[in-house]
């Protein structure tokens, strides 16, 4: 149970609730037993199919019933239907699970059922004598809109993000990757602390750089501007700092590293107690030592001074700062 407030109830109130629930329990158990015994006898009828829906509406986490429902579709309904009817049925499954998902956005089984439906949508009708991908294209396209709606409701839902990546990778008509970059820009502009969107952005850039669609040097320069904007807006927010570390990477570019260190020092000047400024400076100075100036006593001293400050202002993690200092 998450985020459900505890409200004190009197013994009378608890008894009254149990009284009210009694008939619902009897109905629920009767329906459960009925469906499970039909399942045992491999009942693939429409009637059984409708009952699974009734039960899943009461309890969308009942994974056994999702499995049974798919078996009814595969063994009972598909063999007797035209591709068009199958398409309609799966479209219906998708809208039914949409309602469940709105209420239970973090139930794995519902997301899984949608995956299965999408993967089983028939290609499409024959148009002018040639097979088309109409149905598949339409369903996957619609799915992207669905997942966007889910991310509008909760921009950090990791099941929805995972599902989004899955949809993007599986769509029969691939979208240009740049479109996804624009999507993360929108999400990040709505909230700099949406680390899920920053994370997605790191994956999108990696892919654009790997395929040569974007120049890694020029686009990185521009990306630093966006991150600085976030860092200066709220220097206590972890999201942009973590992303900044990704953007620097292993720190092989000495000029860039020094430039970023200078900018963080500027921010530290404005925010002298900023733990994230100090911790990032230590990290980047150590990269500088490791890759470029292994003998710089000045930089070593700077790290030690910062680590001592960090031990004081961020006491819960002081052992980490001590260990880093000892390792230098």
């Amino acid at each position: 149970m998450h985020n459900v407030k505890r409200v004190p109830h009197s013994q009378e109130a608890i008894q009254a609730r149990k009284e009210r629930e009694r008939s619902r329990i009897v109905e629920y158990l009767a329906l459960t037993n009925n469906v499970l015994s039909r399942k045992k006898t491999h009942d693939w009828s429409r009637d059984a199919f409708d009952q699974t829906q009734q039960l899943l509406e009461l309890n969308p986490e009942f994974y056994t019933i999702w499995n049974y429902r798919r078996n009814i579709i595969l063994n009972g309904i598909f063999p007797q239907s035209t591709p068009e009817e199958n398409n309609d049925l799966l479209a219906n499954e998708l809208s039914m699970t949409m309602a469940a998902l709105r209420e239970h956005p973090k139930v794995y089984w519902i997301w899984n059922h949608r995956r299965w439906c999408l993967e089983n949508v028939p290609d499409g009708p024959v148009v002018d004598g040639t097979p088309s991908l109409q149905w598949r294209k339409a369903n996957w396209q619609r799915e992207l809109a669905v997942v966007e709606k889910m991310l509008d409701a909760d921009a950090r839902n990791f099941l929805a993000w995972n599902y989004r990546r899955y949809v993007l990778a599986s769509m029969p008509e691939q979208r240009p990757v740049m479109t996804e970059l624009a999507y993360t820009t929108r999400k990040i502009s709505a909230s700099f602390s949406n680390f899920s969107a920053w994370h997605q952005r790191s994956k999108v850039y990696s892919s654009l750089w790997n395929t040569g669609e974007l120049d890694p040097i020029g686009s990185r320069e521009k990306e630093f501007d966006l991150v600085h904007n976030a860092l200066f807006t709220d220097p206590d927010d972890q999201s942009a700092w973590i992303y900044h570390r990704w953007l620097i990477g292993s720190g092989e570019n000495e000029e860039q590293l020094r430039q970023e260190i200078a900018i963080i020092e500027e921010l530290l000047g404005e925010q002298p107690d900023s733990k994230w400024c100090m911790d990032s400076l230590v990290y980047y100075c150590r990269l500088l030592l490791k890759n470029h100036v292994p003998d710089s006593e000045d930089i070593k001293q700077k790290c030690h001074d910062l680590l001592q400050l960090l031990e004081r202002i961020d006491a819960p993690r002081k052992m980490r700062y001590q260990e880093i200092g000892q390792g230098m």
């Binding site: 459900v4 950090r156 990791f158 995972n162």
Partner: protein, 316 residues
């Protein structure tokens, strides 16, 4: 406000005992698909609090065996529910904890398809269950490790699938799986432990991802990984103890996700597990790799090189 400064063991014991007697509660029936996990959570919490015998052993073993799915060769969450890898691991953990593995036809379980859905959780479950059954050889270590590697992010953490955002619970399953497979060399320890240590918030509680709320269950997901990598000292244990204790229900027992919320057996178990790793006085040692009593894992010769905080002496 009802901030407690002590773990209310007798209350938690009676809370867990009462869970099986809630059949007049609709919620009890609506959570039947979690029953096997719930029994494992309840039993393990009881063991860690030193009250293993407060639950009836025979009744429990009988229930577990009644969930065996002969067709699939695994355990369902409840009688007549389909076998699933989640409930199969819990069933094996219960049987091992109750020293009743002899009831099980091990060869049947090992043969069942463990990789239907892809998720690093299932990889951990397979590694955990097979090593408890002494059949780790059934896993292709290189393939498993290479999949975990694909799920690693630049922050050192791991996601559920390749491309997914780092999440503390997925970090636990990946790090623990690598520990079982003796491949902790895969982990970027400094980077990951930095990310893990930053999960602690000013309240002392831990969150599971950057800029999210703290939650008692992360006490285990984050702590277990830190403990396997020998870096529990990178967070403030005392403050975390305070946070877990504040989430107790001082009237009916049990632990919630955070102060003032409804308790459940899941958070009760992970709260107690976290306290054990933090050296809370009077508790039994917990093995962070298997999330089971440490003595049982040690007796099976499966203990890895993890380190918890030293057990504090009981206060007068």
């Amino acid at each position: 406000m009802n901030t407690q400064d002590k773990l209310l063991i007798p209350l938690h014991v009676s809370y867990i005992q009462s869970l099986g007697n809630s059949k007049d509660d609709l919620a009890y029936h609506l959570t039947a698909h979690l029953r096997m996990n719930a029994i494992y959570w309840g039993l393990t919490a009881m063991c860690i609090m030193g009250h293993k015998n407060a639950l009836d052993r025979e009744e429990m073993i009988e229930y577990v065996m009644s969930c065996w799915d002969e067709e699939a060769g695994g355990f369902g969450a409840h009688p007549d529910h389909d076998a699933h890898i989640l409930s199969t691991l819990s069933a094996i953990q219960i049987l091992v904890t109750q020293d009743a593995l002899d009831r099980l036809d091990v060869d049947r379980v090992v043969g069942c398809d463990a990789f239907g859905e892809i998720d690093t959780r299932f990889l951990y479950i397979a590694a955990n269950a097979l090593s408890l059954l002494g059949r780790l050889d059934a896993i292709n270590t290189d393939r498993a490790v290479s999949y975990i590697r694909q799920c690693r992010n630049f922050d050192g953490g791991y996601g559920a699938v390749a491309g997914a955002e780092s999440h503390a619970a997925q970090v636990f399953v990946c790090v623990a799986a690598l520990a079982i497979l003796d491949r902790l060399d895969e982990v970027d320890t400094e980077m990951l432990c930095w990310w893990l240590a930053e999960r602690q918030l000013p309240s002392g509680g831990l969150n599971g991802r950057p800029e999210k709320l703290p939650d008692v269950c992360y006490s285990f997901w984050v702590l277990s990984a830190l403990s396997i990598l020998n870096k529990i000292s990178w967070i403030d244990g005392e403050k975390l103890i305070g946070f877990i204790l504040s989430a107790q229900d001082p009237e009916t027992g049990g632990i919630a996700d955070r102060q003032g919320d409804m308790v459940d057996v899941f958070h009760t178990h992970f709260g107690v597990a976290g306290l054990s790793l933090l050296g809370y006085p009077g508790l039994v040692d917990l093995d962070p790799v298997y999330c089971m009593p440490a003595s049982i894992i040690e007796a099976k010769g499966l203990r890895k090189g993890w380190k918890a905080l030293p057990r504090q002496p009981a206060a007068e």
